[in-house]
Symmetry: C3
Subunit: 469 residues, 3 copies
């Protein structure tokens, strides 16, 4: 409901809820138990030594495993996978009961099968439901519930799943049906991930940032230092504001490059039914994240640029320029081409930035979920390429004819904006070739399932093999 | 789960999933088939000529339609509606089976009934489930799954629906229960839409933009050209930065105008139970999109404005101003009123822009889903009108008393900011009248269901008729 | 489906849907009735005086309560709780029927039990489903459906719940299963809320804003007024741009202060199983909202700052500075430290603002739902503290050594930026102490469930008591 469902601690529930059994008196068991108590359930702990219950919530009963299981139909197994063994002996008592597996592993793929499936194998007479592993019970208890309140639930038995989903709701969380128990593997891997799709884009971005930084330091600070001109203060704003646009444009190019590669590969192979090479697959899967990293750099570039007139060094230089003009009794001449160029590259940059942001908003989960495929492809391909064209144009008009003047090539290093244009230009040229009608038609046909007739049967076999298995 | 569920291609599934039958060996059938194979299902294709199966995934069996259907309980009908006829002959084999209709049409309302309902009519003994039509299988296969992964599922049979939703989840997509088979029509129309609600706002915006653009070109560039003053470079930034705020303010006014009209109509008719005229209905339905277009123009206006001090022409003019002052040995006088005016209109603009953005964020699906009606109305009407007042004030203080000086009316054309004020001022004046307590009470009463006693029975009849049918 | 499901008013439904009975001919009953008629259902009204039906949709039948109930299996009770009494007499007719409670209360906690549960008590032989109370039927009818279209549904009977959820979908809304009938209380409270979690943060922010405003007015405007220097125009931009950053930094500090307090309390008590004091609980629950308010102030500060060079007063002062320099035949000296300081505090501010915005985006419901706990904690604690450090650094470098010059202390009042640094510095110092390895290990152990051995049994008892009940 957006806000937390607050069930008062001390109210007297007229409709007492069910009794739930918890195996295991560790931290998770204790925390979940007191949360369940607060939500109106009765809780019975199953413990090896029911006598020692000092840490457990007082309102809960503590019995032996068998006694506890007998009294309830739902048993939460808050025990680590290594200790599931003891459940084998309880098979008779557990017959027909619902076992809730809440366990997590320490790392992804620690075991070949999921803990929940392993539990179902150990106690085949019970119904196993996977749930509660994605929430932090500490946070649940301490009330810091700003993060996801979703609890993934899966089970082969729909009725048992519904029952557990009701408990999840009663505790104030949102259950999410993830289907049958096969999904347990993914559910158990989920809380262990740390932005897996962001890694490649962030590493790429970091690498490019360092490279461009070094390039700028050499061609600006060190170059000037050799001329006895200390511009080390460029480190704070001038150089970052050169790095951000350059890397952002490169990353935006890298966003659209794999799509172009994919089209070329499909054209070459004459089919869409063979898998792309692995590196291309990985690249294509992280395009959204690449784009968002590029957007954040573009955002930084925008603010760094807008801040320019406030900077002390800029104001100083501008003031001194006027004072010198007056001292020398000169006047400035309005350069018409510069007028156009200055306004044009600003306008292109602003429009590019605007569509960049529209693309970013469209990739918010709730927005992308509310558009259909046709709309999504329209935004991502049409608007995406428009953005790329505008930003490339922004960089080109910014550079203008400076690449003609060799004195700009410090130590034979071209200005950094020229380097940023390489990838986007490759993408745009390839794309221009691909949208030539005759080529475009072929790609469309291939993507609709057409295949270039193959030369031998054996070839087809090996090809389909690569798809099917 | 946010990230894609990657099921490895070559793992040996200990728990083999069900066998699924696919009728049709076209592109969709093939693609979905190999995806299902990857997810651990067995796939049997039903084909007219089972011998020719070169393009199908090798791991799949290919049989005749009847043989294939017999072996499975779930049959995916990947065939176009025109060819559903052959299923009539299979009625016996299909008895009790689940038929999944995955078809899409070429345009909205191509057929009077939905394909799924038509299928249910042809094979009345089977259970029909509509699913999978909203996903692009090509994208599914190539892994470019950034768009919506939602699969709308509907059926009259809940159990069959659950079964298909499990398959959807297994393939790595998110099923969304859309209820009974009547929903199939909407589900089939959904992927054909291309921003239907955005069309009217975008056309309105484009029309206004062109009109204001021409107005500005005439009153600025052509007017100056006649005075031998070439200001064509205004095209890049100066004129856009006049268009954006003017159109944005008009659109914001247009956002709130239909609500005011609706209240007046209800007041006049003395009831809320009669339908609004069609044009008003359409207008009211696209207010959110109108507001978002207005916000994007406001955003562009903000950046175009912030960029001003960086522009070469502005810096040139400012420098020349100082140089001329010194040459003429004059000094500038601080004009107090200008001081107030300049800061006031900037402050109003910034605050208006801020609330604009708050409104925009509130209209994100996930945010508007987490507020209730009371909160939503508070934000949209209270904050909305606050925004309108602030932005109108911004434009008024910007113009100040300029409308008094006739020399500003180039060729008798008033400055464009005055035109932008017309709609917002109408809205604000009407709104001011509507919130006069006695009128406000009446509207509230009408909206709570009160009706002005009608003069004759026949009138009531015709009125309720218009509501009910 | 993102866009509204438009079911044409005049189509002839081949598959006539069920007949639904509505008790109550008030506004809600009439509106919902005509909406149901539009969606293809037949509607029968149950009324005390079936003769007087002038206001009801003509297509609907109007019968007595008993007659109407007999004909349908689903009965919508659009009657206020106070009048539920008459249902007692209909107990026989209502046996086995589904009663849909759509009622809302006037204020939260008006009755000890929920209306739906009260209804279930009155007619124990019927199945009660809570639904439709969260939508505004007026909006539904008039088509202004931009707000949440979610209908919360709960019931103890799953089948009845499914049936009502189908009706909700047919009407074009999105049902959301909230579990068993116990949830009715929350569902009934939901539409009455007006940003409950935002109140404390907004009041805090308003209080701080007023305090800082007065402080600035005294130390700037009044102080200057006494020196015969009228700077009242500072009210528009200069003073707001002092208030926004100062309050924003304070609020950001207040965001992280309760977390630090919580850690200290846990360290002191040696356990995590005792509840935090109430004020700390409330504080922790509204941290997200505190952060968003702080972000909005930071956003305003950013724009107010970027607008500086456009301001008339700033341009005037800058121009006069140059003119004076020339008149006095002086020149400006480039101050290297100022160069570094100016660029550094701008860079720190921009980076801080950037991470601020990343934090804000992460707190959008759809984004925070798509990250797991590990990722959420990474963003909120790591990036959060990074933001705090950057913003604190921004303020410190901005102030630099000004705190050393007593002439800056107008009337012994320190510059306002110094006051803004108090809370963030306390937070950062405490945090620095808490992440000293030996202390950090202890907290981690406590949070994993470890408890410092208690001295007596009685103490444990009282402690667990406070948790459990």
């Amino acid at each position: 409901m957006g806000t937390k469902v607050m069930i008062p601690l001390c109210s007297d529930f007229t409709d007492k809820r069910d009794t739930i059994c918890i195996f295991g008196t560790g931290d998770f068991g204790r925390s979940l138990g007191s949360k369940l108590l607060q939500s109106g359930y009765s809780v019975i702990y199953g413990s090896r030594n029911p006598g020692d219950s000092s840490l457990l919530p007082r309102a809960a009963e503590v019995l032996s495993h068998a006694e506890a299981a007998e009294k309830c139909s739902v048993i939460i197994v808050a025990v680590q996978r290594e200790h599931y063994g003891f459940l084998r002996e309880l098979e008779d008592v557990l017959q027909g009961k619902i076992l809730v597996d809440v366990s997590n592993n320490l790392k992804i793929n620690q075991y070949p099968d999921s803990n929940a499936e392993y539990l179902a194998q150990i106690v085949p007479t019970a119904t196993v439901v996977k749930a509660f592993n994605t929430v932090s019970v500490w946070a649940l208890q301490s009330g810091s519930l700003d993060a996801s309140q979703q609890v993934f639930v899966c089970s082969d038995d729909n009725k048992a799943k519904q029952q557990i989903m009701d408990i999840v709701r009663a505790v104030g969380l949102t259950p999410l049906d993830k289907g049958s128990l096969v999904a347990a593997k993914d559910i158990e891997d989920y809380p262990l991930q740390l932005f897996p799709m962001w890694r490649l884009p962030i590493y790429t971005c970091a690498g490019l940032t360092v490279a461009v930084f070094l390039y700028c330091v050499i061609s600006d600070i060190i170059y000037n230092a050799e001329k006895k001109n200390d511009v080390s203060h460029h480190l704070m704003i001038t150089i970052p504001n050169r790095i951000f646009p350059v890397v952002s444009l490169m990353l935006l190019g890298l966003c659209y490059l794999p799509g172009v590669f994919a089209a070329i590969i499909q054209l070459y192979r004459g089919t869409k039914y063979s898998r792309f090479p692995n590196w291309l697959d990985r690249w294509m899967l992280c395009r959204k994240q690449l784009g968002l990293v590029a957007l954040s750099y573009a955002f930084l570039h925008a603010i760094y640029t807008l801040v320019i007139p406030i900077r002390y060094s800029v104001r100083y230089r501008s003031d001194m320029g006027i004072i010198n003009l007056i001292k020398l009794n000169k006047t400035r001449i309005l350069e018409k081409p510069l007028l156009w160029r200055s306004d044009t590259y600003l306008a292109l940059g602003i429009l590019g930035f605007f569509f960049y942001i529209v693309l970013g908003i469209t990739s918010l989960p709730s927005v992308s979920n509310s558009v259909n495929w046709r709309e999504f492809r329209f935004v991502q391909s049409k608007l995406g390429y428009l953005t790329l064209v505008l930003c490339t144009g922004h960089a080109m008009v910014f550079g203008w004819n400076r690449f003609l003047f060799l004195e700009r090539y410090r130590w034979y290093m071209p200005p950094v904006y020229m380097i940023s244009l390489v990838i986007p230009c490759i993408v745009l040229i390839l794309k221009l070739i691909l949208i030539i009608p005759c080529i475009d038609n072929k790609i469309t046909k291939i993507r609709q399932g057409w295949e270039r007739p193959s030369r031998g049967k054996s070839e087809t076999k090996s090809k389909t093999y690569s798809v099917a298995l």
